[in-house]
């Protein structure tokens, strides 16, 4: 069995206010899913909860990854198990270079497998970084810059995909990776993701717009509204949303507050 991510009846609150009201979704390795929906529907909440952001409280349901309920696991454990989140708003960390950060992340994986591990050698790490940066058309000087500090919007998103390329997750969630990108940056980032696609990688692309799906073509499209997935289908569903907007979703699924 591949490393499927399965979300069952997930209910989540923030500061006592329910945001997700019973989400069911399954993303298998090798599949690309798109999760669309209007602002405030709960998409980013779902992304954060999948990685265990402590700001959110799960009130009901399960998240199963590799056959295990991971709700009680810390974010670092989930990451080492193969989950990845490309953040919508990556935070900057002064004093930590992108390269050092990624080396620590790799070494944390190696140490979790083998407490005696000395970590990846500098030489191997450099080779890996260079290869992945070239793939994403990133200047090598990026590696020496402080994590997201002073990065442009496009650079931040590219750095997120670089991290994904280096850490090689089995299921990656891309949270509005297209937001704030101009068309060239969007193309470069999307091409980067496409290069990583394959039978080993499941992807959940979270987006408000259909635009990114012209580059990263999903096999499955889901529509989230008011904390639930209200519609699922194939790529044609995304096109329909592009044409008609979210109004029909609102009309059909409006819930009395």
């Amino acid at each position: 069995m591949g490393a499927a991510l399965e979300i069952r009846n997930l209910h989540v609150s923030v500061e006592g206010k329910p945001i997700l009201r019973g989400v069911d979704l399954m993303v298998k390795q090798g599949e690309v899913h798109a999760l669309m929906g209007p602002n405030g529907s709960g998409k980013s909440t779902l992304a954060n909860v999948l990685l265990g952001n402590p700001a959110y409280e799960v009130t009901d349901g399960e998240i199963i990854f590799r056959g295990e309920n991971i709700l009680e696991q810390e974010p670092d454990v989930r990451s080492r198990a193969g989950l990845f989140l490309a953040f919508q708003y990556p935070v900057s960390i002064p004093g930590v270079t992108l390269a050092n950060f990624l080396r620590l992340a790799i070494n944390a994986r190696l140490k979790a497998e083998d407490a005696e591990s000395k970590g990846i050698s500098i030489g191997d790490f450099r080779k890996l970084m260079r290869a992945k940066m070239d793939m994403l058309q990133m200047d090598h000087s990026f590696a020496g810059r402080y994590l997201n500090e002073g990065f442009s919007g496009g650079e931040k998103k590219r750095a997120e995909i670089l991290q994904m390329a280096v850490l090689q997750p089995s299921v990656a969630i891309l949270d509005e990776t297209d937001s704030g990108l101009d068309i060239d940056a969007l193309r470069i980032v999307s091409e980067g993701v496409n290069k990583l696609r394959g039978p080993e990688l499941g992807v959940l692309v979270i987006t408000h717009y259909q635009r990114i799906l012209n580059y990263i073509r999903p096999e499955f499209v889901h529509v989230m509204y008011n904390g639930r997935i209200v519609e699922s289908g194939g790529p044609d569903l995304a096109l329909r949303l592009e044409e008609t907007g979210y109004d029909w979703v609102r009309e059909r699924f409006e819930v009395a507050e």
Binding site: P75, G95, V96
Partner: protein, 448 residues
């Protein structure tokens, strides 16, 4: 029968020094008459001034009752210490393979004094203060506790002026750029009292970089350090001054540190406060000449039962002066920190630009941090701003790092180190940055 209760001396009793102690010290150091007289004059002042207590504004929040003068106040006696007793990281050259100027004290005794030929040829004088008083009266006397730190400022300033035990003197002549950095280490491995002094005179158009390390070995009984730092920055001169304190936890430090910055001169001052049990330090910049500029950066990290009280003052005594002060501190366990800042201007000093900020990272529920900014501006065409912020370790960056597989402890460490990074980078020596990072790391991980 008469019952006699004998009270144990407390900190509010003045330490039991006498005029004879001053005379004996002056004899031992074979001091010139002018210096002996100035010490004795300071002693007179000392006897007149009251011990500071909480009725004085600047001591209102300062509690040093746990200081036991009978134990801490004994003047440390030298015992022919060797340079090698100082931790290796504090002995290595600041940059490159060679020392520029390097002067080291142990318990107030000179154990090493070295000045590269490059500096000597430039006419730079770098020696211990006692020697300088004997050989360079013309350079020292007009500057020693006359223009920056004055004996009349308070009980401990007077005590220092009367009883300073050792010191360093740096003189960079007019128009000269000291090509190598100057490094001073004051190390103690015996408990007791030391009173160290640093006097730096950078003449008009001259440039220098000076770093001072204060540290001591773990001790079983109390120590006290009553220090003074005087930085004279001439017109158009440029001084980079770094002072790093990492005393052991039995140390009580009371220090006066003041810079005078001349016309179009620049001072870049970095202060690190990590060690000691108690710190009361007055850090002041006098912007005396038109166009003078000072940047003051402070890092502090209080843990366990440490108490840091840092008073800063930026005095704009001339028009078109700028000052920029940023302190960043953290406190954990039951530590306490207090920063009191003040920007002052003389009347009608127009077009001055002063900034002060203190950013506090509170790492435990029992820790307490206070920051009290202040402004006293008597001019209208000015820009003076202040800020004080308090926060706990931000959860979002920690989550971000953890989401990449990095365990919480390490993620928190990285974020906390990141908090100090912008100030660490203001230290112009990578080696020194590295050792400070390591000591921050040890503090953050500490009792986990």
């Amino acid at each position: 029968m008469v019952a006699v209760t004998r009270r144990r001396p407390t900190a509010s009793d003045a330490p039991s020094y006498s005029r004879a102690d001053i005379e004996a010290l002056s004899d031992k150091l074979k001091e010139p008459t002018w210096l002996r007289e100035s010490r004795l004059a300071a002693w007179e002042l000392y006897e007149e001034l009251p011990m500071p207590d909480r009725t004085l504004e600047e001591w209102r929040r300062t509690d040093y009752r746990s200081l036991r003068w009978d134990e801490a106040g004994r003047i440390s006696a030298g015992r022919d210490s060797r340079l090698a007793a100082i931790p290796a990281a504090n002995r290595e050259p600041l940059a490159g393979e060679e020392q520029g100027g390097f002067l080291a004290f142990i318990n107030g005794e000179v154990v090493h004094s070295e000045t590269a030929d490059t500096l000597t040829r430039q006419g730079i004088v770098f020696t211990d203060l006692s020697t300088a008083c004997r050989l360079h009266e013309d350079l020292v006397r007009p500057n020693l506790m006359t223009r920056a730190v004055k004996p009349g400022e308070g009980k401990f300033a007077a005590l220092h002026a009367a009883l300073w035990t050792h010191g360093a003197f740096v003189y960079v002549p007019r128009g000269t750029t000291a090509e190598l950095p100057i490094h001073i280490v004051m190390y103690n491995d015996l408990p007791g009292a030391t009173l160290g002094h640093v006097l730096v005179v950078v003449e008009d158009g001259a440039q220098a970089t000076v770093l001072v390390d204060y540290l001591s070995a773990q001790a079983q009984s109390q120590s006290v350090y009553v220090g003074a730092t005087e930085l004279m920055v001439g017109s158009g001169a440029n001084l980079r001054y770094v002072s790093l304190q990492d005393w052991d936890r039995q140390m009580f430090e009371i220090s006066y540190q003041r810079a005078r910055v001349g016309r179009d001169a620049a001072l870049d001052w970095v202060i690190g406060t990590m060690g000691s049990r108690f710190v009361k330090s007055f850090i002041e910049v006098e912007l005396d000449g038109t166009g003078a500029n000072a940047q003051v950066s402070g890092m502090f990290f209080a843990d366990k039962a440490q108490f840091f009280d840092l008073d800063t003052q930026q005095n704009h005594n001339a028009p078109l002066t700028t000052s920029n002060l940023l302190f960043k501190g953290a406190a954990k366990d039951t530590a306490r920190s207090l920063w009191q800042g003040m920007i002052k201007s003389l009347p009608d000093m127009q077009k001055i630009d002063g900034f002060q900020a203190c950013r506090n990272l509170v790492l435990s529920d029992e820790a307490r941090m206070d920051a009290i900014p202040g402004l006293e501006i008597e001019a209208d065409d000015v820009r003076c701003t202040h800020a004080a912020t308090f926060g706990t370790l931000e959860e979002q960056p920690v989550f971000y790092l953890m989401s990449r597989g990095i365990p919480r402890d390490q993620a928190e460490l990285m974020v906390a180190e990141g908090f100090f990074e912008e100030l660490l980078e203001r230290i112009p020596f990578e080696r020194v940055q590295a050792r400070l990072r390591a000591s921050l790391e040890a503090k953050i991980i500490g009792s986990r």
